[in-house]
Subunit: 332 residues, 2 copies
DNA sequence: CTGTTAGCGCTTTCAA
DNA sequence: TTGAAAGCGCTAACAG
């Protein structure tokens, strides 16, 4: 059996033993400077002798300061997020905060549910790549400190990884290699990053005089990438930019499965650089800024917490093209 | 500013709107069966219209049930853990629990700090691949429900991924290919999995009449794998089994950098199958059971919570060899 | 400096 | 089936 909650000494018990009022015990722990030195000592001695530890939950309920924040992501297992989570954690440790992690499984309803469940025990939240409709996000943001990653909503503090810059470079790279039409393998419909990347492809295509087609993949997953290979080939493109590295990786496999040599017969570019040089051939991709995004989002959130007010911050992280070995001259 | 009273509706506000007592609202959420069906509906309707969600913290203070559990891992960014985390999350959602995530950064002191910080707000914790000394784990386990993953301590409920079975198969595979001496590239010194894998290599080597050498890698990381390549080559082995896929992947790169063709001149086997077929050549490895481990650990923890007592459960998940393309006949 | 007095938001007897 | 009332453990005005 584990010691029941009853067995944990409360502030009152300590107060009785020390012969002071409960508030004095409270102050001995939170503002010892307000108290007589020997009073503090007496209280601390009593506390120590009983093994008293302040109850985090009671304190949180009373102060509204939870010492917790929540980070909600669509899929922990998507390699884009772990570095972001890790970076956020690192900052939180310094601040003596705890981290709630939520996994929405790419489902807006699940995400909404998580926000609700977590709301009562955190001081603020970070929504990474939120799939929620803008209106829901605004509602939540009005109720509590909230910072967005890769979601661009005016009036809500947000950190954006501008893959547009990198995607632009990718298009130039492709144009330089003589590709005339490129396919964009799209990601989740309600993903801001997806819209941004699709837009960057279109804009660059116009600027560079290339043709482009959009080939939708259901989810950002390896399997979806494999499945989309046929459609990509059918599109008449000689190169593809995929929503992310995971999808690109699947596409690579799908292409290989159809006997299409990369980069000889077809060029592929990913996004987010999460696979490193692990694919074969090593994937040309757009750089990854997710750790920086995690850190920046946390700093922003802490600022908001400190000031108790929302500034309309829009923090943008630039990306660039990382050329590896899945791109080459267009086939003739 | 985030208005305090306006922000999150409380049970009282819902009660007023629904024209019932606070306790009735409470019951509508916790024991609807105790109430008149239409009362429940009226309350729920009011709650929905205000966006009311029960406050976890207040509930916890009142009931002593926190509805939170903590999962501590050495490194979220190590691909072994995200699937495990995801699996745990999925179960928790069903149970309406929230998940605290702790990242110890492979540092026992940090892990200890996390346990302390989290202890006061969770009903139980799961320590995955804990780097803590046994004595610290026992202390923590005595104070609260605790389940271990990949750490074998008698008397504490634990889920073990038996990579021993898979490593044994790997050794047989290598022996069948004519390799006479194999290197084990070891992982973190205080990792149970590492000890287990090293032991399995030794045992199989004895059984099969092979020679084996242990080559230590500092951390389970790509970089460490690259760095260890020279030592592996120097060891006289013609094949290596690495502590995990990430290390194996680095080793592959290190070998390639030295002009050693794999599998022609050297065979490599990983562990945990976290890279899928993403490496080149696709990595022969030992299968991954981490999602099952996450799910099992959570079930175990919930059992402990329900029974309020510790059973000495030792739940073992078997693994097997996944042959891909980094192993071949020993060079002559 | 320290005690008094209200709560924080919710659950849970005990009555009605 | 529902309401009234008493806390859960702690903090925070407000006195003194």
């Amino acid at each position: 059996m584990y010691p029941r909650s009853r067995s944990t000494p409360t502030i009152s018990q300590v107060a009785t033993l020390a012969g002071v009022n409960r508030s004095t015990v409270s102050r001995a722990f939170t503002r010892p400077d307000m108290l007589n030195t020997e009073t503090v000592e007496r209280v601390m001695e009593a506390a120590r002798s009983m093994g008293y530890v302040p109850n985090h939950t009671a304190r949180a309920l009373s102060t509204g300061r939870y010492g917790n924040i929540a980070l909600i992501v669509p899929d922990v297992a998507n390699p884009f997020f772990p570095p972001l989570i890790r970076a956020a954690q690192k900052e939180l440790d310094r601040l003596d905060f705890c981290l709630f992690l939520g996994n929405s499984d790419e489902d807006p309803r699940q995400e909404d549910r998580l926000v609700g469940r977590l709301a009562g025990q955190v001081e603020g939240m970070i929504l990474a790549s939120s799939r929620l409709p803008e209106e829901r996000i605004r509602t939540h943001a009005a109720a509590r400190p909230l910072v967005l990653i890769n979601r661009d909503i005016e009036g809500i503090p947000r950190v954006l990884i501008d893959s547009g810059s990198g995607v632009g470079e990718a298009m130039e790279h492709l144009a330089g290699l003589g590709h005339a039409t490129v396919a964009y393998v799209s990601g989740p419909a309600n993903s801001w990053s997806n819209r941004q990347r699709r837009g960057a492809v279109r804009k660059a295509a116009d600027r560079l005089g290339l043709k482009h087609v959009v080939v939708p993949a259901a989810l950002p997953s390896y399997e979806a990438g494999v499945a989309v290979a046929a459609a990509v080939l059918r599109s008449g493109a000689t190169a593809a930019i995929a929503f992310d590295d995971v999808t690109a990786h699947g596409l690579l496999a799908g292409l290989a499965g159809r006997g299409v040599p990369v980069p000889g017969a077809f060029s592929v570019i990913g996004c987010d650089d999460v696979l490193g040089a692990a694919t074969y051939p090593p994937l040309t991709t757009v750089s990854n800024r997710s750790p920086q995004a995690g850190k920046a989002a946390l700093s922003l959130l802490m600022e908001v917490l400190a000031s108790r007010s929302i500034r309309d911050v829009r923090y943008v992280l630039e990306t660039h093209l990382v050329v590896r070995r899945t791109t080459a001259t267009a086939p003739t």
